[in-house]
Every structure is written in structure tokens, then in C-alpha cells.
Amino acid sequence: MDAEEFDDFYTASFDRLVAQVYAMVGDRDEAQECVQEAFVRAWSHRRQLAQARAPEAWVRTTAYRLAVSRWRRTVLSRRSPDRALQHRSHGVDPGPDHVALVAALAQLPEPQRRAIVLHHMCDLPVSAVAAEMGAPEGTIKARLSRGRAALLSLLDEGPSGLTEGASHA
């Protein structure tokens, strides 16, 4: 991948990847920083990236792992583990539905949340979700089914129950 191809790839996919990682980790600023860092690593490993079948999946997975790793370091440095739900974005203020949805997602077990985002937001087929998550397709289907049910149930309960007990990766 040469510089021009990388620039095109970066420009075309950055916002999309930030939104996807945001849905997975529940913090837009964290998502943006991790996607940014993932692109730095992507360029640093550009030959490996060029050989990857799906460069966007490579960046998404790297960004997600960085977010998990950063969360661990956050715990290590004893910052609030609930940062995942603290809103400190400088961008457009999200609407209440948006906030409720992200908060509900954050309550799902990590494997369910990630499967739902990959399938329903990234439009990946179950087989691609299974490949990206390293799990059997049957397991992904079960996670999707349980995750959808849990998400609907959480949203039916309203926002009051969505501010505590978040699990982040």
C-alpha cells in the first residue's frame, strides 16, 4: 500500500471506524484516539496491511484491542473504571436515543456487544463476524440472538437502569 492508497483508505474509513469502535467501547473520544493509533500502526506495518484481505477489519480489530488495552491501563492507573460511560466528546451532542443505545450496548457482555456491532452496524455476515472474533459461527449466532434480546429488554426498561454496571470489554 503506497502513501496515496493509504491516504484514500484513511480518509474514506476513519469516521466509519470511529463510529464502530465507539459502539463497541462506549466512549467516542477513546474510540477516536484508538482508531487514530491503529492507523499509525497500520502505516507502520503497511506491507502486512497490504497483504491483509480486509484492511478495514485489521484497523478495526487493532483499534478495539487498543481500547481494551487502554482500559486495562486505566484500571492500573486507578482512574475511574466507569470512564466508558463518561461523556467528554467535543463533537456533536448526541440525542437521547443515541445515548440510551450506547448505554444499553455497554451493558451487554463484551462478546455479545462486539458481535452485534459487527453484524448490524458493520453489515458483516455471520461468517465474517466469526472470522473477526475467532469464534464458531454457531457461537456468533447465539451471541447475536441473546444480545438482541438483551438490548431490546434494556431499552424497554428506559434510561434509569442504564447508568450503572457497565462492562467495558
Binding site: D29, P94, D97, A104, M121, H168
Partner: protein, 493 residues
């Protein structure tokens, strides 16, 4: 709200701060890549590096002027000198100490793991190659009597320390001489063989004097030059021998400075830390100091970790299973969700006890209890957070024989709580159970947790036979009662 799954797509609409320009991203990526390649070229990682041309070692002196790149015929001096092995002088009374004392503080002076510095990882593999290995051919690893290594990632660099003990001082001196010979012999031009085209760089080794410690020592800095420009990533090595023991320390960093005096200043801290460890290596000297010395806990030290912080009676009471019995099967590892071995938690005193419930010779339940002690003790809380992080991010593939799998839900939520002695975390996951049967629906309900106490870290895993067709069953979880009992015992003893 509309269908929340449709609503997910609306998350694409909200944008945050604009990203860095792509040119800046590439610049940062190039910098990261250069650093990685530099450390590889300096012999730190297992890189694909091929020597393409011969040449003498080009040396400089950190106390003097910067050496200029020269032809292969440049005289290699001054530098760590090849030392003739001693004549096999008298061994200490009682013979050479051939075991590294438990609790030897090899990690002293390293930054405490926090938001920047990573955890300290231990390496007990006596065949681990020396980090100071420019030619990558050090056969004397076979001759080691004992070995301990540690590594730690720090921002834009790393620390690595290795301590090897030999059967006598003569062998240890030969190892030191081997370093010098290798540095003299290895060429200063290396081809970094990358897919798509490699490139050649000059490797410079600058002699930094000795540590004024031990029987013999030297320090060097290795760095790269491209087109005559010194690259900022560099590795500082220190090697010291005390009696039959050899310590090698490597500190890789982006020093950011190109002047020898500035680099020398930046290395004062690491050199002092290595010298302090060398002082503690006096236990290996011809005239050994008595144990314990500061920073060295004798094996019989009072802070040795207690064994069996959970016993059969406690397991029976909490789990309701009657047939618990201690077993001795070192094949069993630690908690299933561990990303790495518990050695990665940097505990340097460990006790593991194992129990099982057997029915007609078949294992129906297992329990593994690990207690870790720490030197320095401040790493204990970092060890807890790391282990709790393992539980939080437990992934599908755990090891070759146990996959986290279930037709239903394989994961329970992560729980956190408190014992009277500190925080606890626990989680249940379902995994395959090849110990029960290879081609059936048997699975393990694994209940695993970690508890921090004022002096120790305790990890517990209890696994019950279950059915893969169901979901992980938390109703029978013995946590947190077992964690509380183990934490109490680990604190009381």
C-alpha cells in the same frame, strides 16, 4: 425509539474532532517503524537480520568524541576487551552458589507498572539467549546452572535484565570474554531484510566504560546510522560478572539526543540500577557476602508464601462436594482466562495447590489455588489489576485443549467485590472438557477469581463438569466465598 438495530447505523452520523491529517499519521507510523526496525537491528528482538558484509567493530567512547563512520578496516579500539579466563582460582568455602536466591531483586529500579510502563514479565527459561547477542550465536546457554530474566515495556522502549549462574567462575569469565569477542567480530553493517526490499544500516557500538562494580564489567551503547545521521533509538547494555554469575542489562529507548554527553547523562540512572544489582550479586563472589543482603530474600525468609490457603474441608463446605482430595498434577495451569502464565504477574514467590473430585477414576471437579508473593511489594496491586483484566477480557481461545464454547452463553458477567483484606474479581466461563471425554457434550463450568490481600495475591479456579448444550451455570459458583476464605488464610499466615 425505532428498532435499536436500525438506530445503530445512526451512530455513523455523529462526528467528533477531525482526525490528524493523513501525512501526520504516516509520519508517526514511519517513526514507529524506524524504532521497531532499529531495536531489531540492534539485536533486541528475534528479527530477520542478515549480515551482508564483513567489517570490524567500530567503537567510540562516550567520554570522547563521536566516532565517524569508517571503512571496514577501522581499528576497533577502545572497547570491551577480551578477558582471559581466570585460572580457576579457589572456590568459595562451601563451593559456588549455583542457585539464584529466591526473591533476588532483579527488577529493582524498574518503573512501577502503571498507565505508561507495562507489567514486568519473568523468564525462567535457562536456554533464553542473551539480549547482548550481536551475532546471534551464543552456545553457552547450555552451561548455565541457573537463570532468571525479566522484561518490561516502557514508552517507546524496554528494559531487559538477565542473570545467569554457572558452575564456576571460569565459565562465567569465558562468557564475559565471549561478549567482547563477539562485539569485536560482528560486522557493523546489517541488512534489514524486509518484505518488499531491505536496506542497509550501520550499527555503531560505543564503549561507555565500566561500572566499577563486580570482578569485571563494561557498558556500551548500540545505535544505528542512516546516511550518516544518527538515529535516536538506541540500546544501552551493561554486563557485569561477580564470581560465577553474569548479569546483562539492556535498556532500549528513544534517547532523543545525539551528543555523547547527553546520552551519557541519560544513562546514569540505568547504570546505577545495574551497579546496585551487581552489589547484591556478592552472594556469588569468591568471598561471598552472607545471605540475606539488602534486596535478597533468603529462601527461608519469613515472607515465603503459604501453601494450601484453601483446604479440603473448606472446599467441601463451600461447594457441597464431599470427595475433594489434594492432587499433584503440575500439568494443570492457572486460571483459564489468563492471557499469559501467572509468571507475567511478576510474582517471585508462588505456591500452587491442586484438588480434584474423582468418581470412578474420572475427574468431576477440580480446584487450583495459587498464592503469589512480590518483591517489590508495590507490584502486587499491579498484578491484581492485570489478573482482573484477564478475567474482564477473557477471549474464546484459551489454550490448545480448552476452548471457551457453549451452545448457549459461555460467559457470565464479571463480578467485583471486597473481602476483609482487599478487592476481589471473579467470573464464570464454560469451556470444553477433553479430560472428561473427547467427543461428547461435556464441558467445564469454570469459576475463577482473584483476590488481593495486604501481602499477597490469590488466584482460585474451581471447575465443575457440565453440559455444553446449556449456558454457563453460575448458580453453583463457589465464588466469592472461596476467595474470601483464601484471602483470609493468605493474610493470617
Amino acid at each position: 425509539m425505532r428498532d435499536p438495530l436500525d438506530e445503530l447505523k445512526n451512530l455513523y452520523g455523529a462526528t467528533g474532532e477531525p482526525p490528524l491529517p493523513s501525512a501526520d499519521v504516516r509520519r508517526r507510523g514511519d517513526r514507529m517503524r524506524r524504532r521497531r526496525m532499529a531495536f531489531q537491528a540492534l539485536g533486541v528482538a528475534a528479527a530477520v537480520v542478515a549480515v551482508v558484509s564483513g567489517g570490524a567493530l567500530v567503537t567510540g567512547d562516550l567520554n570522547g568524541s563521536t566516532p565517524s563512520p569508517g571503512p571496514a578496516t577501522q581499528s576497533p579500539s577502545p572497547g570491551p576487551q577480551s578477558t582471559a579466563p581466570p585460572s580457576g582460582g579457589p572456590a568459595p568455602p562451601g563451593g559456588w552458589l549455583t542457585e539464584i536466591p529466591a526473591g533476588f531483586a532483579l527488577g529493582d529500579g524498574l518503573p512501577e507498572p502503571d498507565g505508561e510502563a507495562g507489567p514486568v514479565k519473568l523468564d525462567g527459561d535457562s536456554r533464553s539467549p542473551w539480549v547482548l547477542d550481536p551475532c546471534r550465536e551464543r552456545p553457552e546457554v547450555e552451561l548455565r546452572a541457573d537463570y532468571l530474566g525479566i522484561t518490561q515495556r516502557v514508552p517507546a522502549g524496554f528494559h531487559q535484565r538477565q542473570l545467569a549462574v554457572y558452575w564456576d567462575d571460569e565459565t562465567a569469565a569465558e562468557v564475559m570474554a565471549g561478549f567482547a569477542e563477539e562485539l569485536q567480530r560482528c560486522p557493523n553493517q546489517q541488512n534489514l531484510d524486509e518484505p518488499g526490499g531491505g536496506f542497509t544500516e550501520d550499527v555503531w557500538t560505543e564503549y561507555g566504560g565500566d561500572l566499577d562494580s563486580g570482578d569485571e564489567s563494561f557498558t556500551i551503547v548500540r545505535h544505528l546510522e542512516q546516511s550518516g545521521m544518527r538515529m535516536t533509538p538506541a540500546v544501552h547494555y551493561a554486563a557485569v560478572r561477580v564470581g560465577n554469575a553474569v548479569l546483562v542489562s539492556a535498556y532500549g529507548a528513544e534517547f532523543g539526543a545525539s551528543q555523547p554527553e547527553q546520552i551519557k547523562q541519560a544513562l546514569e540512572g540505568p547504570s546505577a540500577a545495574v551497579a546496585a544489582i551487581a552489589d547484591r550479586m556478592c552472594v556469588f563472589a569468591t568471598d561471598p557476602c552472607a545471605q540475606p543482603v539488602e534486596g535478597v530474600d533468603a529462601p527461608e525468609a519469613a515472607d515465603a508464601v503459604p501453601g494450601y490457603v484453601l483446604d479440603v474441608e473448606t472446599l467441601r463446605d463451600v461447594t457441597g462436594l464431599e470427595r475433594w482430595q489434594p492432587v499433584d498434577d503440575s500439568e494443570w495451569g492457572g486460571i483459564l482466562c489468563a492471557k499469559d502464565s501467572t509468571e507475567a504477574l511478576a510474582g517471585n514467590r508462588t505456591d500452587t495447590s491442586r484438588f480434584a473430585v474423582l468418581t470412578r477414576g474420572k475427574v468431576r471437579a477440580t480446584a487450583i489455588v495459587q498464592v503469589l508473593g512480590f518483591t517489590p511489594s508495590t507490584w502486587r496491586s499491579a498484578g491484581y489489576e492485570t489478573a482482573a483484566g484477564w478475567l474482564a477480557s477473557c477471549v474464546d481461545t484459551v489454550d490448545d485443549s480448552h476452548r471457551i464454547v457453549s451452545a448457549g452463553e459461555a460467559y457470565g458477567p464479571l463480578h467485583t467485590g471486597e473481602s476483609a483484606h482487599g478487592p476481589m474479581s471473579w467470573r464464570s466461563v464454560m469451556s470444553s472438557a477433553p479430560e472428561i471425554c473427547e467427543e461428547c457434550d461435556a464441558a467445564w463450568n469454570n469459576h475463577q477469581g482473584v483476590a488481593l490481600t495486604p501481602r499477597r495475591l490469590v488466584l482460585v479456579q474451581v471447575s465443575y463438569a457440565g453440559d455444553m448444550q446449556g449456558s454457563v451455570d453460575e448458580s453453583g459458583s463457589p465464588m466469592p466465598e472461596l476467595l474470601r476464605a483464601a484471602a483470609k488464610a493468605a493474610s493470617d499466615r
